[in-house]
């Protein structure tokens, strides 16, 4: 298990429009210690810098100030679900997964596709899949990396609600079985409160941390529990003046659920 510390992270982007002269600060002096094995969710209005924060942690951003330090003296193995699926269009789904894995991972890749309810689609090209199916393939790819650190940028957005529900419980199962450290961006407060061990809300305008709560409750959780309901209320209160997120939901296709074989992946 690996933990990480963010020290005084600030990210400014140069002004975009020709009229604008001032640079835009999206993250300001973010300091945060994430303990090994934590499941942290990051919430905040659109444009606040959630994706940017994940990119900084992943080592993809080179223009930030501050420091990212690991709890161990090594780079963690990272699995990431980007905001976009980012699959190679010329590779089949299974080949997209195997591209990032060590040799001999085929059986596990198939099991993971099964887990995200894509059994039977392994030989399809990405363009033959719906957007939601591509996202799930991207989730399977991230898990196949056997990550110490799992970075998830709205991984379950645009899935129909019953499937999202099942995948949420798979995700918790995976976390409990494999103990990766997870940082997940979501716009869904219920998701944040149901899944994670800690919720961090970023404040618009200032780009600072508006709220940071640990959730020491066992799984499975119910939002009707008083402690959770209270946190949910707090988040909703905070978000009263945030602009509403816009996103669409895919229609539920008649795809198979995860088989019992795939569920083995979630046993400790």
């Amino acid at each position: 298990m690996i933990g990480l510390t963010l020290e005084g992270i600030t990210r400014r982007f140069p002004a975009e429009g020709p009229g604008e002269t001032t640079e835009k600060t999206v993250l300001q002096d973010i300091s945060l210690a994430i303990e090994p094995g934590a499941f942290v969710t990051v919430v905040g209005p659109s444009g606040v810098g959630k994706t940017t924060l994940l990119r900084i942690i992943a080592g993809l951003d080179h223009g930030f100030q501050g420091r990212v330090a690991w709890s161990e003296n090594r780079q963690p193995k990272i699995g990431m679900v980007f905001q976009e699926p980012r699959l190679a269009p010329w590779l089949s789904v299974i080949d997209n997964l195997l591209l990032i894995a060590a040799p001999g991972a085929r059986a596990e890749a198939l099991d993971l596709l099964d887990l995200v309810e894509l059994a039977g689609s392994e030989n399809a090209l990405p363009r033959q899949l719906s957007g939601g199916m591509q996202r799930r393939a991207a989730l399977a790819r991230a898990l196949l990396a056997k990550p110490d650190l799992l970075l998830l940028d709205e991984p379950l957005i645009s899935l129909d609600s019953t499937r999202a529900e099942r995948l949420r419980s798979h995700l918790v199962g995976y976390w409990q079985a494999r103990k990766p450290t997870i940082v997940m961006v979501t716009h869904d407060f219920v998701e944040a409160v149901e899944l994670s061990s800690r919720v961090i809300a970023l404040a618009p305008e200032s780009g600072r941390i508006a709220l940071d709560r640990t959730i020491p409750l066992p799984h499975p959780r119910r939002v009707t529990d008083p402690a959770e309901a209270a946190l949910l209320d707090e988040l909703r209160d905070l978000a009263r003046d945030w602009p509403a997120p816009s996103h669409t939901t895919e229609e539920g296709e008649a795809a198979p659920r995860a088989s019992n074989a795939a569920m083995r992946l979630l046993t400790i």
């Binding site: 992943a58 080592g59 993809l60 193995k77 990272i78 699995g79 990431m80 980007f82 976009e84 980012r86 190679a88 269009p89 010329w90 590779l91 080949d95 591209l99 990032i100 090209l125 363009r127 790819r141 990396a145 970075l151």
Partner: protein, 261 residues
């Protein structure tokens, strides 16, 4: 059920039978008729006379030898031009500073008249095989570089980022992520280059080589042997079309399959 559905589809004759062959025959007829009208076999021989000349040269072995010599030059120059042009193009496409500094040089190279490079190469390196190959390579490489630069610029950065995060090895990224994206540019430049290369090779041969199609054409020119010129040209066109049809196009179809919706 599948078989029945297949039977219902009206069987269409392949495209080349319906259009290409008739139009090709029409061209031959047009040639024959206009040659008969002009009625000057020395100035404008008929297709049959041309075929006869071609047959004679085929029998002496002259035609095949010239074809082989020219094709060998095309192949060697093509190889060097593709290698050099791809390397330059990818370097410029991947690195903005490189493009800023050397992009202008490429523009100059692209607009250099072929004749100038050929003449300069012969002057500097002598009337040698090396000079001929260098001249053709220098002529064609910029075209390849320009096309490959566009391809390299358009590489999917999001995908490259993903492979970086997952720690995919350089070799796997090159083999499975970069090359598949460059393949269409590579084939486009090969195709654009192939036509260009053989035309330039003929000029190079005409100006300073003792063999090959271009040399033969100069000889025929000296004797006003129009039938010879036409016969050699047509033989070469046939070879180029065969390469296009049986090598370039199949490869193109294979590499572009994932694009078709």
């Amino acid at each position: 059920m599948k078989a029945a559905a297949a039977l219902e589809v009206p069987r269409r004759r392949p495209d080349w039978l319906r259009f290409k062959l008739p139009s090709f025959i029409a061209l031959l007829v047009l040639w024959q008729v206009s040659a008969m009208l002009i009625a000057d076999p020395a100035l404008f021989p008929t297709p049959l006379a041309t075929l006869e000349t071609g047959y004679l040269h085929l029998m002496t072995g002259e035609l095949l030898f010239s074809l082989a010599v020219t094709l060998a030059r095309v192949a060697v120059a093509f190889f060097f031009a593709m290698a050099l042009g791809s390397a330059i193009g990818i370097a410029l496409g991947r690195s903005q500073p490189m493009d800023a500094i050397f992009g202008g040089w490429l523009s100059i190279a692209l607009n250099m008249p072929a004749l100038v490079t050929i003449v300069l190469c012969y002057v500097w390196f002598g009337l040698s095989e090396t000079a001929a190959i260098v001249a053709v390579t220098i002529n064609k490489a910029p075209t390849v570089a320009a096309i490959m630069r566009e391809g390299a610029r358009a590489l999917d950065r999001q995908l490259l980022e993903a492979t970086q995060v997952f720690g995919v090895s350089r070799w796997k990224v090159l083999r499975h992520v970069v090359l598949p994206q460059l393949a269409p540019s590579f084939i486009a430049s090969a195709r654009a280059g192939l036509a260009l290369t053989w035309k330039i090779v003929l000029v190079v041969e005409l100006l300073g080589r003792p063999n090959g199609i271009g040399f033969q054409i100069r000889t025929f020119f000296n004797y006003f042997d129009i039938a010879g010129i036409l016969a050699y040209s047509l033989a070469f066109i046939a070879i180029v079309l065969a390469i296009e049809n049986f090598i370039v196009q199949p490869v193109e179809r294979r590499t572009g399959r994932w694009r078709t919706a």
